[in-house]
Symmetry: C2
Subunit: 310 residues, 2 copies
């Protein structure tokens, strides 16, 4: 792992989680699986599937699935929760891409949902994915224990809401509208909300599903927090460096928009150092877990979340 | 009740529920009460409060509070659930009013949220209210029993989601875009999703919180279904008849937009008859409840939901 080459095990687990998430999303979004009895607008269903399927790293599902596995939990319930969390991520991309927000035409190398299906559909697609995520977590097919399901629902609402993802997005917009230098601490707090909260919850959800005890929960919470921060700084660095074709979206757009990034606050070299320190923190947080393939895969995830090229 | 004059009891209960809902919304949306620890964008909080406070009939909270009362349930938990349901209603209005959807400038006699705070804020205000509603229901302050909370979360997700409110909104938009005559059954099914589902759930939530047994649950479900349908037809009739000032929004707009309404499908006289028949159905559904002020107030609600003037 330290030589910068992903292990075969890590690559296999990553591919497996992405495939499981994709398959679960596909089946949860099949017209016959969707809740409700009556009229089904086919064009809208197509738009919902377009927004959720066919791409993405599926990093959040990977985190949920691999964290749950630390405690021997796996199977349909874990995959359902992982898919629900990914739906939240997908909805946030659909809404963030809207003309009134980031006004992006391209996402994962394809037209954004509002470019492909119109703005009205894109707004409602986001609303539908957001709502469906809670439906899935509350469904007993996810876990027979109501206490576990309610912990998942509550955790998701907290991480996705005004104190988490949405709050972070609002602060990000405000930073754009009233550009002023942002100190590194402000940037880190904003990012801990905007992208960190859901990544952290993806880890927490695995721990909840695995019935982890308090010390393991706390260690994983530290892991998720550091990993989430490293992931977002890596994203900011990539925006400056990456080749547009590789990233599948416009590169260099953050600077043009006065986005609050750690690169802007600290310069690229210090941002790289912070990213690497956070990745090490994430790895260190898992030290208490017994050596073995499972914890090692999560440590590699932290390493490669920081070192990623797209 | 049958003489068309609301009883003093009904008026008092309606005012009391509206006040409880307003107070609970105000307290749940106080800056210090909102979830999350860190940065608080004040302008956005103002927009969230603007969207949720200061108006509205609070009919959904009334239904939840009065249904719970049938079973002796009342207090903070019931009010929290009622407020969560009202947040879903408020979010749906904010998103429906957006330029890409209904493009409305006026709501309850005030500028719509996007007119007052901009489109980006309005989109995120809707997302925040939607997410917060689940946060509130999942919180143990709403009910100590996780089974009850999960039933509320699941019911809300079902009624607000693609098989309910959002699905109905999509169908409504499609009807506008491809105008064609809509049969009365299509209209009724669309409306059962768009507005009926959440009204029905407002009643169901009261039954869930009151630990109602199956026969009572079923009766209330029939009540909620008929009431929701009558309410929406009354709305369509009002759109044709009402004075703009009284309604607080533009009147006559449905016809200009090819909205699928029962008035368009059947003509106003048959629409009125259907509305009144449904109100009677709703009242009849409550026959099994012991006579007394509580069930009577709900019956009056069905009567006045149909007979209302705004």
């Amino acid at each position: 792992m330290t030589d910068g080459v992903p292990s075969a095990e890590f690559r296999a687990r990553g591919a497996e989680a992405a495939e499981s998430a994709e398959r679960m999303l596909d089946s949860l979004l099949a017209p016959t699986a969707l809740p409700g009895e009556t009229l089904r607008p086919p064009r809208f269903l197509e738009a919902v599937r377009y927004a959720a399927l066919g791409g993405g790293k599926r990093f959040r599902p990977f985190l949920t699935i691999e964290t749950a596995r630390l405690f021997g939990a796996s199977g349909t319930g874990v995959c359902r929760a992982a898919a629900a969390i990914e739906m939240i991520h997908c909805y946030s991309l659909v809404h963030d891409d809207l003309p009134a927000l980031d006004n992006d035409d391209l996402r994962r190398g394809r037209p954004t949902t509002h470019r492909a299906f119109g703005e009205a559909n894109a707004i409602l697609v986001g609303d539908a994915l957001l709502t469906y995520a809670f439906d899935i977590l509350a469904d007993e097919a996810t876990d027979p224990d109501p206490q576990t399901r309610i912990a998942l629902v509550f955790g998701l609402a907290r991480s996705a809401g005004i104190g988490g993802m949405i709050g972070g997005q609002v602060l990000d917009l405000e930073a754009e509208e009233a550009p002023q230098p942002h100190g590194p601490e402000d940037v880190m707090r904003l990012q801990a909300m905007k992208t960190g909260a859901l990544l952290r919850f993806a880890v927490d959800a695995g721990a909840i599903l695995g019935r982890a005890k308090a010390p393991a929960r706390d260690a994983l919470s530290r892991f998720g927090r550091a990993l989430g921060a490293a992931f977002q700084i890596a994203d900011d660095i990539l925006d400056v460096e990456a080749d547009e074709a590789l990233l599948g979206k416009r590169a260099g757009k953050d600077a043009g928009r006065n986005k609050a990034t750690l690169v802007a606050a600290l310069g690229i070299e210090a941002a790289r150092q912070t990213r690497d320190r956070l990745a090490q923190e994430a790895i260190a947080a898992l030290e208490s877990f017994p050596e073995g393939a499972n914890a090692t895969v999560l440590k590699e995830a932290a390493f490669f979340a920081a070192a990623r090229k797209n």
